[in-house]
């Protein structure tokens, strides 16, 4: 049975995939799904509890919470994915170089990874946002930078393992260049754990980015972003808990979906198939 078949029959992973497909569809078709505007303030209808017209109620500025969550899907998922792309884009090359060349290069890169690891990712992101200022791009950069060391470590370990394999020696023996060996052999054999880690990391970046938003250091209002909505709702937690309940649920479901997918991918791609020996 191949990886894809294993993944397809992995029930938790399929549940995660279903949630993500749903989110994607809602994000794309948000304007058709809801009649309300995510940004326009309607103070006369502020702080309404869930009703037939406003399924999840309205916020302190009279905006429909459901509508903002739907439009927020676009922002929050985009930040999560883009941040992982940033983290991978910097972390993977560093990890490859670190593992492949070893010695001094490895030492330096490993120390850098150590240093970055010494900061809790939310703290590193916070500090970066504090310096760069709030805004969509800065949040993506800040959160992406925070997960760089994860990919350095992972890829370095993969490279170290693959480097010892006979086919790399063989490639070197026939005179293949370093770059060719790196791309054709080392990376080609490391993609499975990278995909697994990337999937799980999206869960992390969504959590961290929403955390920034919650603290008021994310994407500035009135952009609908889940974390920021939760942060605004916090002020009304005694009187209008719906304002913070539903955006939190949206974050939670997105993160759990990526974690389910990640677990499923790991099970499906795990090369250590339980071999039977007789």
């Amino acid at each position: 049975m191949d990886s894809w078949a294993r993944f397809r029959t992995h029930k938790p992973a399929m549940l995660g995939a279903a949630i993500l497909v749903l989110y994607t569809l809602l994000a794309i078709f948000a304007p058709w799904v809801t009649p309300h505007d995510p940004v326009q303030q309607q103070l006369v209808q502020s702080l309404q509890t869930p009703s037939a017209e406003f399924w999840l109620g309205t916020d302190h500025l009279g905006r429909d919470v459901l509508t903002r969550i739907l439009y927020g899907t676009r922002i929050s998922l985009f930040i999560g994915i883009a941040a992982v792309v940033v983290g991978m884009g910097i972390g993977i090359p560093l990890g490859v170089v670190s593992g492949f060349y070893g010695r001094a290069t490895d030492m330096v890169i490993q120390r850098i990874a150590d240093i970055m690891f010494s900061f809790p990712s939310i703290l590193l992101a916070l500090a970066l946002v504090a310096v760069l200022g709030v805004g969509l791009n800065n949040v993506i950069i800040a959160v992406g930078v925070a997960i760089i060391p994860i990919f350095i470590r992972l890829v370095r370990g993969q490279v170290l393992a693959v480097r010892e394999e006979a086919y790399v020696d063989a490639a070197r023996a026939i005179g293949a260049s370093d770059l060719r060996i790196l791309v054709r052999h080392v990376l080609a054999n490391s993609w499975a754990p990278i995909i697994v880690q990337a999937t799980i990391s999206i869960g992390i970046t969504i959590l961290v980015a929403a955390g920034l938003g919650f603290l008021g250091l994310g994407v500035p209002s009135p952009t609908p972003e889940w974390g920021a909505m939760l942060g605004e709702g916090r002020n009304y937690i005694y009187s209008h808990p719906h304002m913070s309940t539903f955006p939190g649920l949206a974050i939670f479901l997105a993160v759990i979906a990526f974690n389910l997918m990640g677990d499923g991918l790991r099970d499906a791609l795990d090369p250590r198939l339980r071999a039977l020996e007789a």
Binding site: P120, I122, L123, G211, F214, L217, S244, L249
Partner: protein, 305 residues
């Protein structure tokens, strides 16, 4: 073993140096006049000038960094732009509260997490395992800030059993403790389960069974200590996430620790304090990992030589 610890210590010092460079660089990266930044937005021109000369901000960057480092060694982290008090004093006043929260989170999380993980692995694919696995998946996917709010809604607002914010009462630690503890339990339980399952498939476990060792003793005497080795390392690495969780938890519950101070200081653009807190958090992480490394050498006999 001593050389092992010495080596780990050396690495920690190097890491710590790197951390000071980042903390130093962060303030350099800020747009505008660093003297103005450090003195604070409300400071007068005179004050800004005084800060500039006192901190040598007109000197080259290298000299400034050396001076910055020298001050840290002397225990001088500068002055809060907001309160004008020494940063060490500001942090010192709140650090115990953060340590209290982190300690509760780590200890509760590690103990319950390991128990949960072992039970899940022992009863693999049975109801207990499913319950623990689903529970821990929820635990690691739950935003701590949302969990905190939900707990406040239920236990403080609706039931009125526990205080919603602050640290004034003896029961104040319960809700933030649960918030940060649940995440750690979930994390540790997942790691322990995975590690146990791997160990239970090892040849030496089969050897133990072949000797006639009882099931539970195989699990506790043979498997657990082996499974604990990777879990310990990951607990160390994940201590960072725990501190991160502490920042958010402190914010949700208005817990007077340095996490909350950090957020407040970012809003107030009080960068000397931000800088100091970054250093303290990194230091805590490094110290905990050093302890983990030393424990590691006790658990893993291969390290002793």
């Amino acid at each position: 073993m001593l050389t092992y610890i010495a080596r780990r210590l050396a690495v920690s010092v190097v890491t710590l140096l790197g951390v000071t460079i980042i903390a130093f660089g962060l303030v350099q990266m800020l747009p505008g006049d660093p003297a103005r930044t450090i003195a604070g937005l409300m400071a007068s021109e005179d004050e800004v000038e005084r800060v500039r000369t006192r901190m040598g901000l007109d000197e080259p960057l290298g000299t400034q960094y050396v001076q910055f480092l020298g001050n840290i060694v002397k225990g001088d982290l500068g002055q809060s732009a907001r309160t004008r008090r020494p940063v060490t004093q500001e942090i010192g006043a709140r650090l115990p509260k953060t340590i209290e929260l982190a300690a509760v989170g780590t200890i509760v999380g590690a103990v319950l997490g390991i128990i949960g993980g072992v039970i899940a692995a022992r009863f693999r694919n049975r109801p207990a395992d499913h319950a623990i696995s689903i529970g821990s998946l929820i635990g690691i996917s739950m935003p701590v800030y949302w969990l905190g709010l939900l707990l406040i809604m239920v236990f403080a607002v609706n039931l009125g059993w526990l205080p919603a914010a602050g640290a004034g009462r003896r029961t104040s630690i319960i809700l933030p403790g649960i918030t940060i503890g649940l995440f750690t339990i979930a994390l540790v339980a997942r790691m322990t389960r995975a590690s146990m399952l791997e160990v239970l498939e090892q040849d030496y476990v089969r050897t133990a069974f072949a000797k006639g060792v009882a099931n539970r003793n195989v699990v506790y005497r043979h498997a657990l200590r082996n499974a604990f080795i990777p879990v310990l390392t990951v607990i160390g690495i994940q201590f960072g996430s725990l501190l991160g969780g502490a920042v958010l938890t402190e914010f949700v519950f208005a817990w007077p620790g340095i996490g909350r101070l950090m957020v407040d200081s970012i809003f107030a653009r009080d960068f000397p304090v931000v800088q100091g807190i970054i250093l303290v958090f990194a230091l805590m992480f490094i110290v905990v990992n050093l302890i983990v490394d030393i424990l590691y050498s006790y658990v893993n006999p291969k390290i002793q030589y």
